[in-house]
């Protein structure tokens, strides 16, 4: 049911957007700036229960008392938090009238990704395209229908979190903020105060979610704001695979994206969370790109629970994120597979935290960083073993590949073992893209760019293999596109 409702809402939302240009748009958008009234405005717009408003206001209060952190090895222009819209801001400007007015470079990228023309219009924000967006949604009507029927039969709840707050308030209330507390960090507090939407998933005990939660949401995702909130709960013995993100490069005017993702895995449950992030990285000088400051954390609170994060990060001007696992359950297990590709002037400080609290908990980290142009990439990871956690095992592998002379790559592992029985392994390599390999591939007929793409795809293969099939193919193309012009 959720899917249909979501579709209908999406249509309505788009209609509003379309008419928003001619009618009184002021009512659609919150004024710039952030104060308690804005928080109330957002909560009211969403029709939230009273407790949710209180929760947001408490978060806002905490945020005001916090300082923006500076420890990451990224540099960016300070964000003026009073100069941002916190509600529906991105839709303010009129879009291009047709694809002819869209940056040809952007279209070329869509073309390469094999995105159908109509979907291209939607992504580029062409006026009148909302109609197309609906079509695009209905293009995959079979998906939606199967999806709806199958998910309902399985009892899986999958809907926007704003809708879940109205339909399943108790469920949301029980888990929201239980993994990433309101006061966890500066950006999490900000997100808690002003998040606009995101998705909510609940998989009942013993249920194996019958499909990847992805295709449908992908289109929907372009409508969510800059502060997304995702909450996924896998009840005992259940399994779900969730694919996040837009694999097409959205031209987005938001400077700051501060999302929060919370995962909860109960006994014997498994969550597989895959991300392909390809936001606008800015121009050659890094201007205008996205700041992607995300808090993602999984709570493996059940025994034998398992969470696997897989991420392919190729976009954004500045990426600052550490999808983490709190391994509380006995024999719980956490995995982190990451590809971070930076080009131009992009900066990425990313990695993971594996906090071992449960006995015999295990974790595995495979991080691949590819740096090109004048970009800079840092892997920052924590493996921590609690004094009472016996029999813990961890394996960490960090590989960096440098393309060209002006990029940087750093690996900063933090290891805290407070229990002598822990087995922790760490391997790290840094290599430069070899001229021998490049020439060899070119001699066999590959152009320089094809050769780079092939070699880099080989370098990141271990991680690509962790992605669901359809995503892996797109990710592979993305690797090639994001490195164009990185050599020669």
């Amino acid at each position: 049911m959720a899917a249909v409702k979501e579709t209908v809402e999406a249509v309505a939302e788009l209609e509003r957007y379309k008419h928003g240009f001619t009618s009184d748009i002021e009512q659609e958008f919150a004024p710039k700036g952030l104060n308690a009234d804005i928080v109330r405005f957002i909560s009211e717009k969403k029709g939230e229960p009273e407790w949710m408003l209180e929760w947001r206001l408490a978060a806002f209060e905490r945020w005001q008392a916090m300082e923006e952190p500076t420890w990451a090895s990224v540099r960016y222009e300070p964000v003026d938090y009073q100069d941002l819209h916190y509600y529906a801001a991105p839709k303010k400007k009129a879009g291009p009238k047709s694809l002819d007015e869209v940056d040809p470079e952007l279209l070329a990228v869509y073309e390469k990704l094999g995105i159908p023309l109509k979907e291209q219009e939607v992504l580029a924000g062409v006026q009148g395209a909302p109609r197309v967006a609906v079509d695009a949604v209905f293009d995959s009507v079979s998906v939606v229908t199967t999806f709806k029927a199958e998910l309902a039969r399985a009892g899986v709840i999958f809907m926007p979190i704003s809708e879940a707050l109205r339909e399943y308030p108790e469920l949301v209330r029980q888990y929201l903020g239980s993994v990433v507390p309101v006061s966890d960090n500066y950006f999490a507090a900000l997100n808690s105060a002003v998040f606009s939407d995101g998705s909510f998933v609940y998989v009942p005990p013993g249920v194996r979610c019958p499909m990847e939660l992805s295709t449908y949401f992908r289109i929907n995702a372009s409508q969510t704001g800059q502060f997304e909130r995702t909450l996924i709960i896998a009840d005992k013995g259940s399994y779900v695979s969730y694919l996040e993100g837009c694999t097409a490069p959205m031209r987005d005017e938001n400077q700051l994206h501060a999302a929060v993702v919370e995962l909860v895995a109960l006994d014997d449950a498994e969550i597989k969370y895959s991300t392909v992030q390809n936001w606008y990285p800015g121009d050659a000088e890094g201007r205008g790109g996205i700041y992607n400051f995300v808090t993602k954390r999984a709570d493996c609170r059940g025994d034998r629970s398992k969470v696997s994060w897989t991420q392919v990060e190729t976009g954004s001007a500045v990426t600052w994120k550490y999808p983490s696992c709190l391994l509380k359950g006995e024999e719980s297990s956490g995995e982190f597979y990451s590809i971070a590709i930076t080009n131009g002037r992009q900066q990425a400080d990313t990695g993971t935290k594996m906090v071992h609290l449960g006995k015999n908990s295990r974790s595995r980290i495979i991080a691949k960083a590819v740096s090109a142009g004048k970009s800079d990439s840092t892997y920052r990871g924590l493996v921590s073993v609690h004094p009472k956690a016996t029999g813990v095992r961890n394996f960490t592998q960090c590989d960096s590949l440098l393309i060209g002379k002006d990029c940087g790559s750093h690996t900063i592992p933090y290891i805290e073992a407070r229990n002598g029985s822990a087995h922790l392994e760490h391997e790290a390599t840094t290599t430069r893209l070899s001229e021998d390999q490049l020439f060899y591939a070119q001699q066999r007929g590959l152009s320089e760019e094809e050769a780079v793409a092939l070699l880099v795809n080989g370098f990141v293969r271990d991680v690509l293999q962790e992605l669901p099939m359809e995503f892996a193919v797109e990710a592979q193309k993305l690797v090639a596109i994001s490195l164009e012009g990185s050599v020669g």
Binding site: Y440, Q442, R444, G445, L446, S447
Partner: protein
């Protein structure tokens, strides 16, 4: 027909080829023999367009086309294939993926249709059987952990699949035992045809027992200093390169 005229190539500041002139007509196999450091590998790199091995002077044409004006991939699409003395390892890229990507890149460059996956697999299976290669090996990353002999066979397999018209074999016999040498040579001989030209670069006469050359050239100090029939190779085997070295000094 390959025509090399007065080719000069420096690597870094060091002149290696100093006015090399050589013609290889279509359908012929020419052996290039010479002492270490004579410039044999440099010749292979210069013909295939390796960066850092550009011609300072001279001309190279292949079937009337100016080879030196093309980048390595363009040369490959025109039929130039260099079998490497030390084939390169490509981690994470299965051999099958690598060869198929290369074949289709060449076909696209020539305006031909790409080969479908099933057809490609058929071609590979047939070629692998001829070269007595284990098909499962081709699913592994290209050359990673392959023995010296396996790497050389892999080169010949790629050659068989890419069907080049100008074949340059750089020390293909090095690292091969007698059995492997015979298999590799059979693979090369199978590609002999009236349209193809081959340059067989070798240090030893041994390979030429299996791949019979039409002509043998001695490369010393960056130039061809002697040319003859197959008997020249035997003579070199008996007498060594000494008599060509003073000319080099």
């Amino acid at each position: 027909m390959l025509k090399i005229n007065n080719l000069h190539v420096s690597v870094g500041d060091k002149p290696i080829l100093k006015g090399l002139t050589l013609d290889v007509p279509a359908g012929e196999v020419h052996a290039i023999m010479g002492p270490n450091g004579a410039g044999k590998s440099t010749l292979g790199y210069a013909l295939s367009g390796r960066p850092g091995y550009e011609a300072a002077e001279g001309a190279v044409s292949w079937n009337g086309e100016d080879l030196l004006a093309l980048d390595p991939a363009e040369r490959a699409a025109k039929g130039v294939f260099l079998s490497f003395q030390y084939p390169i390892e490509i981690p994470g890229v299965p051999a099958l993926t690598f060869v198929r990507t290369a074949l289709n890149a060449q076909r696209r460059a020539r305006g031909e249709e790409e080969v479908s996956a099933p057809n490609f697999l058929k071609l590979v299976r047939a070629a692998a059987t001829r070269l007595k290669m284990d098909f499962d090996m081709l699913k592994r990353p290209l050359n990673v952990g392959f023995s010296g002999g396996e790497k050389k066979r892999m080169e010949i397999l790629q050659m068989a699949l890419l069907e080049p018209s100008l074949l340059i074999l750089d020390e293909t016999d090095s690292g091969l035992d007698i059995d492997a040498l015979r298999i590799v040579a059979d693979g090369v001989n199978a590609l002999r045809s009236p349209e193809r030209s081959m340059l067989v670069i070798t240090h030893y006469q041994r390979l030429l027992d299996y791949i019979k050359p039409d002509r043998v050239h001695v490369l010393a100090a960056g130039r061809i200093v002697a040319s003859g029939g197959p008997e020249l190779a035997h003579q070199l085997e008996a007498e060594g390169y000494d008599k060509y070295l003073p000319a080099a000094a």
